[in-house]
Each structure stands twice: as C-alpha cells, then as structure tokens.
C-alpha cells in the first residue's frame, strides 16, 4: 500500500479505473438509449483515464487545463485507432466526436473532484485514502443506481413492446411514444380479458383485512409482552421470534392438506384466515419493541387516576403508538400484497386469484411476455406508490423488527 502513496501513481491508477467505469457506463447508456451499437474499448479508455489522472495531479498544468487536454485527447485517439468508444458503421462522425467529448467530460470533471487534494509527489495517508474513497463513492452511486433502475425500467419498457420489437433488438430501451395510447394495449387487455381489475380488488381487500386482523390480535399481545409482568414472559417473546423464523413452506404443506380436507382451498376466506397468522409474529415483535420505548410514567399516571388497564391501552398507549401502528400496518400490507407461495398453492380457480397468483398464471409460452410484464407493473405500482408516499413510516417499519424476507 505504502508504495502507492505517490501522486504520480495514485492519480493515473484511479484515473484509469475511472476512465474504464465511465466508458462502460456511457457505452451501455448509449446503446440502451438509442439501440445503436456502441461499445467501450479497453485501451482507449485506459489511455484517456491515465492521461487525465496524471494531468489532474500535475501542478503546472496552467497552460492546458486537464479537461481541455482530455477533450483534445479523445479527438486525436481515433486517428491512432484507440478511440475509447467503438461505434458501429451507421454512427456519423459528428456523433462520434460529440459522444467522445461527452466521455472526456465525464471522465475529467469527476476526476477533478476525486483527485482534488492529491499532490504530484509523495502523499500522506489521508490524501491517498480520501482520493480512493471519493473514487469508490462515485463508482458506488453509479453502480447502485444502475442495478436498481435497469430492472425496473426493463419491466416497464417490456410491457409496452411487442414480442417482435423485443426480439429485433433487445438492446433498444427506447419507448416508441408515437404509438400514444397503444403503448398500454397489454394493460388494457389484462384488465378486460384477464380480469386483472378483479385480481387487484381481491389483493387489495385481502391485504386490508390482513392488516386489520393482524393489528387486532397483535396489539393486545404485544402490550402484554412489553408491559405486564407474568411468568413465562421471556420465553414467550423468544417463542414469537422462533415462530417468526419457521419457513413458510414447512407450514404450507400441512395447511394445504388441511385445506384440501375441509374444503377451504380455492376460497378467499381461507386466504384471509391464513395471511394474518403469517404476519402476527412479525407485528408482535415490532410492536412490543415500540411499546417498550414508550414512557411508562404516562400509563402509571392513567392508572393512578383510576383508569383500568384496558382503558389505559385504549386511551393512552394506542394514541401514542399511532405512528408505530402505521408502520406495522404498512409493512403487513406489503407482506400480504406481495405474498406468493400460499396464494399459489391454495388458489386454483381464476375467479378467486390474488394479483400475484394472477401474474403466475400469465407465465406460459402462449401468453406474450409483454402481458406478463404489464402484470408485474400492475402489482408493483400500487405498493411503490404507497411506499414512496409514506416512506418515512415504511423505513421505520422495516427497521423496527423486520429482517424477514
């Protein structure tokens, strides 16, 4: 490591890495945006990065600022056959140069921030690490944003394209806006021919009922575990956690058998009965943590003034715990909305499907991919809207006790 504490080494190395990162990013972005064949070239990107990095750490670059140098470089590199981006034959020279200049900018400008405090000669450990961290930060933002956005974008885009368009050029991520409302054809078809309206409604009321039932059962239980003293309390709170860890598939098998025997399979009622039980342990666990955090003095004051325990819960604890109830409710809603395994095993009758079960039924070779993806979008959008609107509750709900998958 110590060997690297030199500006003239760290600068070019980080520069080269950043050059590669940006060439790949830009290459991928351009191919996706336009469908044109553009790809990053190893040597060109390395040269660009090394030179920019070196220029950034060199103190006497008053004559030619590093950014100008980078631009100059990308205009010259193609002539020696080392363009940092390779283009297909159909890309015009003007576009090539413009894209190359864009690449030069996106390499050089962030590099100036990354290598801000780095001297040309020997560096201190601080300066070196600050540069590495700045590089990792930039890379991290790009990386995470890309891995999150690309799949979700693909989901939306695929739902608006026909199978032929997809096969023709899988790299073309553009959406043909000139089709207007016809972009949403597969949604329309799902709603009219595949009963997705009904599935949406089923999913919605199943989830809401699940939330209500879960809270109804878990609030008293969580309060008892958090506040009241009784023998077996510790055992009980561990028992909750243990049940919380029992794999669903282990329970699903006997439940399937029991439901087959009593004829509860293929009924929404059966689903509404089983969902809360899968969420009650989570809710108990999250709520008892919250109840413990509430000041006990307020409740004692209520008891002193002659309220019974149940009244205390109803009049003091619950109003104080409203935000927690909201987070837990949201989290439970999310679990119920996203639930797949039980719905898949217990529902066979298309008129009773929940949304996730409905999407699973679209996964066949006879139904075009775009319908499947449109179904995925229909299931994702409501939960995302809810999540974005109430993000604060949601994140708290998640951190409160949910390490559940």
């Amino acid at each position: 490591m110590k060997l690297l504490y030199k500006g003239y080494l760290t600068g070019p190395i980080l520069g080269a890495l950043w050059g590669l990162v940006m060439a790949v990013t830009l290459g991928v972005a351009i191919s996706f945006a336009t469908g044109e064949p553009v790809r990053p070239a190893l040597w060109g990107a390395l040269i660009l990065g090394v030179v920019s990095g070196l220029a950034m750490v060199a103190p006497s670059m008053r004559l030619v600022p590093p950014i100008a140098l980078a631009v100059l470089l990308v205009l010259v590199l193609p002539f020696i056959g080392a363009s940092p981006l390779h283009y297909g034959a159909e890309v015009s020279p003007l576009w090539r140069n413009l894209l190359n200049i864009a690449l030069a900018g996106s390499v050089a400008i962030p590099l100036r921030v990354i290598l801000r405090d780095l001297p040309l000669g020997a560096t201190t450990r601080h300066e070196f690490e600050a540069a590495v961290i700045a590089f990792l930060t930039g890379f991290g933002y790009l990386f995470f944003t890309a891995i999150v956005i690309i799949p979700f974008y693909v989901m939306v885009m695929t739902s608006m394209k026909s199978q032929q368009q997809l096969m023709l050029n899988p790299l073309d991520f553009s959406i043909d806006l000139s089709k207007g409302w016809h972009l949403f054809d597969s949604y329309y078809e799902l709603m009219t021919k595949f009963h997705f309206g009904r599935y949406l409604w089923t999913s919605f009321y199943v989830s809401v009922l699940t939330v209500l039932l879960t809270l109804l059962f878990s609030v008293p239980g969580a309060y008892a575990v958090a506040r009241l003293r009784f023998s077996g309390r510790k055992l009980f709170s561990r028992g909750i956690l243990l049940i919380y860890m029992v794999p669903m598939i282990v329970l699903a098998l006997p439940i399937y058998i029991a439901y087959s025997m009593v004829g509860l399979r293929n009924s929404v009622f059966g689903i509404v009965m089983i969902y809360p039980v899968t969420t009650i342990p989570v809710a108990l666990y999250m709520l008892q943590g919250y109840f413990r955090g509430l000041p006990v003095e307020v409740e004692e004051a209520g008891l002193m003034d002659g309220l019974s325990r149940l009244k205390v819960i109803w009049k003091i604890t619950l109003p104080l715990a409203l935000p927690a109830l909201a987070s837990v409710g949201l989290y439970v809603f999310m679990i119920a909305w996203n639930e797949f395994l039980l719905a898949f095993m217990l529902l066979d009758d298309p008129s009773k499907f929940t949304l996730t079960r409905g999407i699973a039924s679209l996964n066949s070779s006879e139904i075009p991919r775009q319908h499947l993806m449109a179904g995925a979008v229909i299931a994702t959008v409501p939960i995302m809207a809810l999540f974005l609107g109430l993000e604060r509750f949601m994140t708290r709900g998640l951190t409160a006790g949910a390490v559940k998958g």
């Binding site: 008892a224 329970l251 009650i280 996203n338 949304l355 994140t395 390490v403 998958g405």
Partner: protein
C-alpha cells in the same frame, strides 16, 4: 407477635396483572397455535406416513344404477366399484329407493334385502379394484324409456370408505431412509449452503457499502435511499419475472449487451446452465435483499456518537482507520444479528428460486425440494420428511441466534 418481613409470594395485584396478561395473549396464542404449532406437529406425523398426493381423499365406494330394457326381460343393474387400486373399502353397502313403475322380481344378490320399493344391501369389505355388476330382473309398467332417467337418479345412500392413510396406524421410516440414501439429498444440501452463505454474506457486504455511501447529508439522500429500497419492496414475482426477461437467452438485453461489448460470443442461458444458474439465483438474492441490510446498518451508523470521530480526527486517524477501528466495532453487533437472521431467512427462502428456475439446473434447495417431492413427485410423505429436516436445521440456527442475541442485546 407478627413477623415483619417483605411479603412473600405473589400478591393480589401481581396475580391480577398476570391474569390480564394471559387474557390479552390468549387470542394470539390460540390462533398461532392453531396455524403454526398444529401444522408443525402434522408435518412430523406425515413424515412417517406413506402418503401420496392422491391419498388426501380416501377412496369411497361408487355405485351406478341403470335400467336395462331388453325385449325379453327388463333388468336393473347395480354396478359397485372400488376406485382405489391399493386400498380395501370397509363397510360397503347402499340404500336405494326404486321409482314408481319398476318392481324387482329376480333373485337378490347376497347381502341384499327388499322391502317394498326400498333395496338395502351390505357387502362388507371390497377388495381393491372391485368392480361388479349386479343385475336383477324387474318388471316395468309403462314406458321403459321414460323410466331410465328416474332409475339412474333414484334416491341412494352409498356407504363404505377406505382407511384414511393420514389417520390410520401405518407408519414407515421409508421417507427418511430414501431421503438420506440418495446422493440427491447431499447435493441439495450443498446447493442450499452455497446459496445461503454467499447470498447472506453478499447482501451484507453490498448493504454495508450502500450504507457507507448514504451515511452523509446531501441533497437527494432521501430519494436515493428510497430508490435503493425498491428491490426489496417490489413483489418478488414481479422482479423475478423481470430478471428472467432481462436474462433471457434469446430476447434478453443482458445477453445482447454482453455480445455487443465483446464479452461473450453466443447466447448464454443464465438460468439454465449448471453452475451459472446457482450463481445467478445467489446474485438475485443479494440484489433483492441488500436494501434490508443497508437500511439496518444505516440506522445503526446514524446513531453512532460523532464525538468519537472528532476525537479520532484530533489524533490524526485516516478515513480507513476511522472506519476500521471506530465504526466497525460499533457495527459488529448489528452485523452479527443481521447475518444470523438473514442466514435463517435465506435458508428458508422458497419463492425466489422457485420462480427463477423452478429448482432446475442445479438450484434445488431444501425448501424447493419440499415442494418438488410433495407436488411434482406427488409424494407428500417425502416432502414432509424434507420439511422436518429443514425444521431441524432451523432449530440449530435459532439456538445459535439466541445465544448471539443475548450477547448483543437488542436489534
């Protein structure tokens, strides 16, 4: 002389409190017991029974009645069937009432008795695949054609059921011996461990990286935090199918991109090749669950006292040193708890792999095996045996978890 000492035992107040506590807990305990404890016991029970999917409904005697109208002699046919190929039906018999206009005149089969229009038969046990037609001469008054339907639909009570395999006393250890005999189980276990260990570690590390990125105040931090949670919040079925689309060997963008970038020559079947499929489902697991570890680690980071870092700055600690010697010890608690909980949850994971590969191409984990044995092979008993193994593993992990948990206190 009264003895002055603090009260012993539990006073009235304590008793009342405990009573209330149990009262509040009762509904929860009752319902959880019903839907968690009972199925768990059921799984153990089923795992030692030779149950197939078809045995869930025990075989019942079937009876078909028809009127055969020949010129010479009309007959009523009673066809008695045992539909099962393996099981004896006990206590078979039927009661039926003939419609007006049909009178039985012929000899009755053994075990049958006629009183007026009512026919009562007892056959006792029916062997497997029993299929017998009893034809009894009859006198028909009126139009025979129009009587055929009333005869077929005549009011009938059929009796006789086979033993229910689920409740009888046949036990077998075959489910377990078969499970441990085959080399399949050990490869499934190996796949499960690979998936669990790398999935958990990967999600933890990636989550730590993301948390480090967002552990500073800047504009848009909230937006990015929300964005990075997307993979976790979206329904698994939606994201799983999106991945399948994205990595499709023919129309998938990932393949096209790799070919264009010159990384690969031909189409790669990401979810259909032996070692690659397992790596892909593990990557999916990391992608989908890094938000969760990221969220927890970030919450813990933001609660670390900043004084410590200021002191370290004064002493001239470098950024990496601060991370390694100050942040890491503070994060170790949450990291170990997260690791264990996520480990258990990844071990239990079913949906993701089931949707991505269906357990094919060397991605069959224990949980997927439960489903495959029970439903694809239709051997419920074998599925239950795998489920018992899964549950056993869970108990071991849980014991480990609680030991760590009491050391690290809180989450």
């Amino acid at each position: 002389m009264t003895d002055i000492s603090p009260p012993k035992g539990r006073g009235a107040l304590a008793k009342r409190e405990a009573r209330l506590a149990w009262g509040l807990l009762f509904p929860t305990i009752a319902i959880v017991a019903l839907v968690v404890i009972v199925p768990l016991l059921a799984i153990f029970w089923i795992s030692v029974k030779p149950v197939k999917l078809g045995d869930l409904r025990p075989a019942e005697m079937r009876l078909r009645i028809s009127l055969r109208d020949n010129d010479a002699q009309s007959q009523v046919e009673y066809r008695v069937i045992n539909p099962s190929r393996e099981h004896v039906i006990h206590g078979a018999g039927f009661d039926t009432t003939l419609p007006e206009g049909v009178t039985l005149t012929g000899d009755l089969p053994k075990g049958c008795a006629l009183s007026g229009q009512d026919l009562h038969c007892e056959f006792g046990d029916l062997a497997p695949r029993f299929n017998e037609r009893y034809r009894i001469d009859a006198r028909v008054t009126g139009d025979a054609k129009s009587l055929q339907r009333p005869v077929r639909d005549s009011a009938t009570v059929a009796r006789g059921k086979a033993d229910n395999i689920l409740t009888n006393s046949t036990f077998t250890l075959e489910n377990f011996t078969k499970l441990f005999d085959g080399s399949e189980f050990w490869s499934v276990l190996g796949v499960t461990l690979f998936y669990t260990i790398f999935g958990t570690l990967g999600a933890l590390l990636v989550g730590l990286f993301a948390a480090l990125l967002l552990n500073k105040d800047f504009r848009g931090q909230g937006i990015l935090r929300g964005l990075y949670l997307f993979p976790y919040v979206a329904p698994v079925i939606a994201v799983a199918f999106t991945w399948i689309t994205l990595f499709d060997p023919f129309s998938g963008s990932a393949n096209a991109l790799l070919i264009q970038m010159g990384v690969s020559q031909g189409a790669i079947n990401f979810f259909g090749q032996k070692p690659l499929a397992l790596i892909m489902v593990t990557v999916f697991e990391i992608w989908r669950y890094f938000p969760l570890s990221f969220l927890f680690i970030l919450a813990r980071m933001q609660s670390i006292d900043t004084d410590m870092y200021e002191a370290a700055d004064m002493d001239g600690a470098s950024p990496f040193q601060k991370f390694w010697y100050l942040s890491m010890p503070q994060l170790l608690g949450i990291l170990s708890v997260l690791f264990l909980l996520r480990f258990i949850w990844t071990f239990n994971k079913f949906d993701d792999i089931f949707l991505l590969t269906g357990g094919n191409a060397g991605t069959r984990t224990l949980t997927v095996d439960v489903y495959e044995q029970a439903f694809a092979v239709s051997n419920i008993g074998a599925g239950a045996a795998v489920a018992v193994v899964v549950f056993g593993c869970l108990l071991i992990f849980a014991a480990l978890f609680f030991r760590t948990m009491s050391r690290e206190e809180g989450l």
